[in-house]
């Protein structure tokens, strides 16, 4: 499984994530979680097809902007342990 913590973050300017109409209210928890899932699903799909994972960086930037670092660390730890609850 990909070890996210060893990857360098993508270069370039990071703008703030755009408005997502799926999550229009103040509580953006689900936005954070969905982008985290989407990033990992994208990596898995691209690696399976043998294509470049460069498009997945969009999701990486969004979840890094939105999610508290402690959550990201906890989820990465769970992924390494195999106890992550989400469907990736």
């Amino acid at each position: 499984m990909l070890n996210v913590e060893n990857q360098k973050p993508p270069k370039g300017k990071w703008t703030t994530p755009p408005f997502d109409p799926r999550f229009p209210n103040q509580n953006q928890t689900r936005n954070c979680y969905q982008n985290f899932l989407d990033y990992h699903r994208c990596m898995k799909a691209m690696n399976r097809r043998g294509k470049s994972t460069q498009p997945c960086e969009y999701y990486f930037r969004v979840y890094r902007s939105l999610c508290p670092i402690s959550w990201v660390q906890r989820w990465n730890q769970q992924i390494q342990d195999g106890t992550f609850a989400g469907k990736i």
Binding site: F19, P21, R22, Q34
Partner: protein, 82 residues
């Protein structure tokens, strides 16, 4: 219960506005709960077949009643497909 309301209203007509407002409030509450149960993208009744219902919203779908500053007709889908 409605017969009781009607008979009481005939005996004391001044109660009619009360019945109207209570009725409207109760109906509004039930209707809003129904809208939440059926249309809210965070609600999933069948987790096996419909696990992430918020992903079914397109970029221009608006769930809120009134959006102050957001022009929904101009939004596009962000994020690449995979």
């Amino acid at each position: 219960m409605f017969r009781l309301i009607v008979s009481q209203a005939r005996k004391h007509p001044s109660l009619i506005p009360l019945f109207l407002f209570i009725g409207a409030g109760g109906t509004g509450a039930v209707l809003y709960l129904t809208r939440l149960a059926l249309f809210n993208p965070d609600v999933s009744w069948d987790r096996k077949n419909n696990p992430e219902p918020w992903n079914k919203l397109g970029p221009t779908d608006q769930y809120k009643f009134y959006a102050v500053n957001t022009d929904y007709s101009k939004l596009k889908k962000e994020g690449p497909d995979f």
